[in-house]
Amino acid sequence: MSRDAGRLSLILLFAPFALWIGLLIILPQIGIGYISLREKVGINEYEFGFKNYADFAQAAVYRNTLFRTAWISILVTMLALVLGFPISYYIAKIARERSRAALFLMCLIPLWVSDLVRAYGWIVLLRETGVVSTALVSMGVINEPIEMLYNDVTVIIGLVYTVILFMIVPLVSTMQGMDDSLLEAGFNLGGSRLTVFRRIVVPYAMPGIVAGCIIVFMITAGSYLTPVLLGGKNSSWFTEQIYNQFITRYNWEAGATFGVLLLLFTSLVVWLGLRLTGQSLATTVAKDT
């Protein structure tokens, strides 16, 4: 094949990716960034400046919502990791070859149902007249129905349920590559279960852990349906604020500002997380194996 043909096929192969990144991610972000720097001074009169950001910094309620969103997202990420790790380990290392695919599929099944339907599923279970409450009353555990929706615990449970799959997939694929003899060598050289777990399993799974945590954190922080439906009015989720600015108040400038801030802040949290745990993208996610 001639060089030109090779170059052409490279361009053609690369084109869909470039179009996707350019048109659907970079361009809209530039648009959002542009709008966020626009100050409304009168009808159809705009100036450029950081007033929108200054407004945000002054309003404690928005700031707190952002921090709260980040904090709950971190908590959800931790929970997803703690719950997802044993499941992934079981699927990757303990389950037999034949049941492995079935188990993996079972983890995927919730994805076949839309976010919205899954959230309503939780509502059916947890509301005052819902399945759980009614069952507990009829068993005599509680005297009168209780409302289990619209609190932080429910929001966190719902979020963990939604995102845990994105923790399990990278973890399973990393741990599947781990040779059993590494674990046996760990024991053979005198390591206890804890030592083998801490010094062999976790370091080996680190690329999967980092990838899973970043994906889960980003999805959680940017999620909208689950916190709004399960948390109700009290959820104070940052994406809800963005929605309100854009749709309810028709204040695109403030909405765009919030959008940029969410992106920056979550990126900052991911960066801090990597720094604090001593990991880097180059040695984990982008590691060539």
């Binding site: 003899s181 046996e184 053979n188 050289l189 005198g190 206890s192 062999i200 080996y204």
Partner: protein
Amino acid sequence: MNDLSCVGVTKKFGDFTAVRNVSLEVPPGSFFSILGPSGCGKTTLMRMIAGFETPSAGDIRIKGESVINLAPNKRNVKMVFQHLALFPMMNVGENIAYGLRCQGEQKSEIPEKVRKVLDRVGLPGVEDKRIEQLSGGQKQRIAIARCMVLQPDVLLLDEPLGALDLKLREHMKIELKQLQERFETTFLYITHDQSEALVMSDQVAVMNAGGFEQIGSPRALYDDPVSGFVAGFVGDANVLPGTIDEVRGGEARVILDGGGAVLARLADDSNTGDRVEIFVRPEALRIGGDNGSGSLSGKVDSLLFNGAASRILVRLDTGQLVEVADGDQASEVSAHDAVTVSWQPDRSRIFVRRPGA
């Protein structure tokens, strides 16, 4: 007291018996090999000694004490795995220090011990290298160093040379033997490669279908095999199938399947009329004359020149091809010459025919 002894060790997986009533004694400081084809149960036996499998019956003792109820991490036997199982996320120094840290060694003494053991395996100063920067032979030595730094009673090696190329394998054979002598530690080596076992070992146990066929020095296995399996598996042998016609003391006259009658030494209790196999080493075969066995005629098929290990391939009139390592004759004969081959009956063995042969 022996470093390692197994008494009647048996392992069953469901209906399948992987290891059947195996007993062995490994004296201190010796190089002991278990030689057998794949699937003979040798790896299962080693995994039981390391503690990764529990025997269905029998006892395993290390330095005289039963370790059946000890967890793998409490046993002072260390293992070099087939694919070495060096920890890829640690560098060389950390790999070696891992075991020391598990033992609760003083932090300040670890670097010194790591340095010393690397010296002893001939790789000083590689502490900071990453595992993937090492060559195959170096990885091998690091895997051994990682075990030896813990001063185990017995070092188990599970076909560690299998993944190396031929030249390096030849080199590592000698090196392993030297390392074993330097460390004065008992090595239990598992292999399916008879030349590895013969070259390195003080004692070899030949294993087949879950049980030991014979335990002995490499020379004893080669010169005095106790069964057709051992005779065929250890070293090269020409196998001539036939039926015993007449037993004369320790020898028997055998009518070969393709015709012809020869004399060979009886090595088991086969008797007149039994279907047997005669095993003759290539170097026991002679071209021309009669050395007491009665001669078999044939034609030189080809000459395989390989220096001192040159062979003459002779196609017998029965149609069978035999290898002759008759150094004196190698230069005398040429292809398609009509020749006769014979041997001293003493240097041949008659065993009952192996199943499937």
